[in-house]
């Protein structure tokens, strides 16, 4: 089967949150509180156990391509629908001690809710801060990449509901090409800070839900160089073994004297 992917394009997003609504409804996710954040029109704030699509609202003192803002100084209002990245090397999947988190045949990262026992290790192992434990349930949840819909030959709910095709769903390699040509097109039209966000050079090894963004990834709370935490194992275990040897030597000395 081909590897599925999302290409989410910030330059096309209008911040309507249809993806958030479609995701909530299709996946029957409980509400996660009704709060007023005061941060633009974003009252969702972050991805979480009960938020699998999250529309960011950025207000920046920067020009948007060649567009003019009528308030006298450069200004742009930017939107982006964030989602689980479905990493090629997924921190949550590597960390999961029960084997609940698996890689599906479409290349997505899936949490099997009938296996998860809520140990919480995936939560601290995700370099993108996506997966979280739902307190009232006890288990960890995140975007399923609408695995059920994909199995039935349907596109994920968010992509289907998106009115501007800001969320595009398709084959990974094909969408990578489409993203590349979209960035070239945007730059030709004066959006000089348009770029692809897909950390392929780090240990994450690329993501299956990548983005076209304007500006730096930090403004979208996307880590510039995320690492899959398993890269830290070798040095940590080396230190553990050396420390253990020293402890044994100290105890030997103490009882020998």
């Amino acid at each position: 089967m081909p590897i599925s992917a999302f290409l989410t394009d910030a330059s096309l997003c209008i911040g309507c949150k249809a993806c958030e609504v479609a995701c909530k409804e299709w996946n029957q996710i409980p509400d996660d509180g009704f709060v007023w954040s005061g941060q633009s029109y974003d009252n969702t704030r972050a991805l979480g156990a009960s938020t699998w699509r999250h529309v960011l609202f950025l207000e920046q003192k920067q020009p948007m391509g060649s567009q003019l803002a009528s308030i006298g100084e450069p200004f742009r209002w930017q939107f982006l629908s964030d989602v689980c990245k479905h990493c090629a090397n997924a921190g949550c999947l590597e960390a999961c001690p029960t084997g609940s988190i698996v890689r599906t045949e479409v290349g997505s990262v899936f949490v099997q809710p009938d296996i998860c026992n809520g140990c919480g290790y995936c939560v601290v192992s995700c370099p993108f801060g996506v997966i979280d434990k739902r307190p009232e349930d006890g288990r960890a949840f995140k975007c399923t990449f609408c695995y059920d819909r994909q199995k039935a030959g349907l596109v994920p709910a968010c992509a289907k509901a998106c009115p501007t095709e800001s969320i595009q769903f398709g084959d990974l390699e094909e969408l990578k090409q489409r993203g590349k040509s979209r960035v070239q097109d945007l730059q030709r039209r004066g959006y000089h800070d348009a770029q692809i966000y897909n950390p392929q050079e780090t240990s994450v090894g690329g993501i299956h839900a990548f983005f076209v963004i304007l500006g730096e990834p930090e403004a979208y709370n996307l880590p510039p160089t995320p690492e899959v935490p398993t890269v830290y194992l070798k040095s940590a275990w080396t230190s553990a073994l050396v420390s253990a040897a020293i402890i044994v030597a100290i105890v030997f000395a103490a009882f020998a004297i």
């Binding site: 960390a95 998860c116 601290v124 930090e218 105890v251 009882f255």
Partner: protein, 334 residues
């Protein structure tokens, strides 16, 4: 009366707002600090919101780190003491400390699970790449070995002399010692190999700190059990000496990623913990190590410090996860 005045004022105000809106296309004279739509900083992060998820572990987990360390190193002490044909009473105390820890630790871990009834799913797979999976197996192995060791030891103590039993005791003690050292250190690897910056950036220091804490605590337990012998004194000196070095190292090294180790609740707790485990315990041994009261005081300081330190490290992880700027700074630097 008062309400009527207020209503009138409100109606006037509404007229005023309407007039201003017609004339200026915006209701002038209205300033609402903090309301509306604040500007996101272009550099930095998304409204300063966390870019990572904070650890969801409850109070049981740091306590488990603490008790697991004591139990693990106690098993190691018992085995080495046995090989030096040390006082059987001391070996017995250490073995029982290991077994008691092995009995409490799984309870704490299961209580922390979101779905405690599914705790056996931990043994569904064996994953070297997951410190949590490995840890579950280490704890299971340790508990088994500690139980067999105590069982054999008690039988031998009651006059059941059998060469097979002696070899089984040795095997169980040796296995418990190895599993114990892993139990005392894997918890540091567990938090070191995560996406939380303050943990992963201290992944080489944490195993040394956790194991040294375990060593000092298991020696302190022996002292409280009445073994005020030179061996426990040496272990106490060594543990608090190493902890003093670690404490100085943490204080001297100033990295932005280590901010939770110096500031806030986690920083304060860690500093108190470091002082108790390190200098306080060390000085008590230097000046009053010759009297039992001094040794009890040093042992108490070390135990309290080690317990506080575990909580401080978990709290530091929470603080670190909620600071996107430190994370991005670290990643841009690399």
């Amino acid at each position: 009366m008062k309400a009527a005045t207020k209503l009138k004022a409100t109606e006037e105000r509404l007229e005023e707002i309407r007039k201003a809106a017609i004339e200026n296309a915006s209701p002038t004279g209205i300033t609402q600090p903090g309301a509306g739509t604040p500007l996101a900083q272009n550099v930095g992060s998304y409204y300063g919101l966390p870019a990572l998820k904070a650890p969801v572990w409850t109070w049981q987990v740091p306590l488990y780190f603490f008790l697991g360390g004591i139990a693990g190193v106690s098993a190691c002490l018992a085995f080495i003491a046995q090989s030096f044909r040390s006082n059987p009473a001391l070996i017995r105390t250490s073995l029982w400390a290991a077994l008691l820890g092995a009995a409490i630790c799984p309870v704490l871990l299961i209580a922390d699970l979101g779905r405690p009834a599914r705790f056996l799913n931990m043994l569904r797979v064996f994953k070297l790449r997951s410190a949590m999976s490995l840890g579950a197996w280490i704890l299971a192995a340790f508990s088994g070995c500690a139980f067999v060791a105590v069982f054999c030891f008690e039988l031998l103590l009651r006059g059941f002399t059998n060469p097979l039993l002696t070899s089984l005791l040795w095997l169980a003690e040796a296995s418990a010692a190895v599993a114990g050292l892993l139990l005392g250190s894997y918890t540091a690897v567990l938090i070191g190999a995560t996406a939380i910056p303050v943990w992963s950036e201290n992944r080489k220091l944490l195993p040394a700190h956790f194991l040294t804490s375990g060593l000092g605590c298991s020696a302190a337990i022996l002292e409280f059990a009445g073994f005020l012998i030179p061996a426990t004194q040496i272990l106490g000196f060594a543990a608090s000496g190493i902890e003093t070095v670690i404490e100085i190292f943490l204080e001297v090294r100033k990295r932005p990623v280590d901010a939770p180790l110096h500031h806030g609740r986690s920083g304060t707790t860690l500093r108190i913990a470091g002082l108790l485990e390190g200098p306080a315990a060390l000085l008590l041994r230097v000046f009053w190590g010759s009297v039992p009261a001094g040794r009890y005081a040093a042992a108490s300081c070390f135990l309290i410090g080690a317990l506080l330190s575990r909580y401080a490290w978990i709290w530091a992880g929470r603080a670190s996860a909620s600071d996107p700027n430190a994370l991005f700074h670290l990643q841009r630097k690399a």
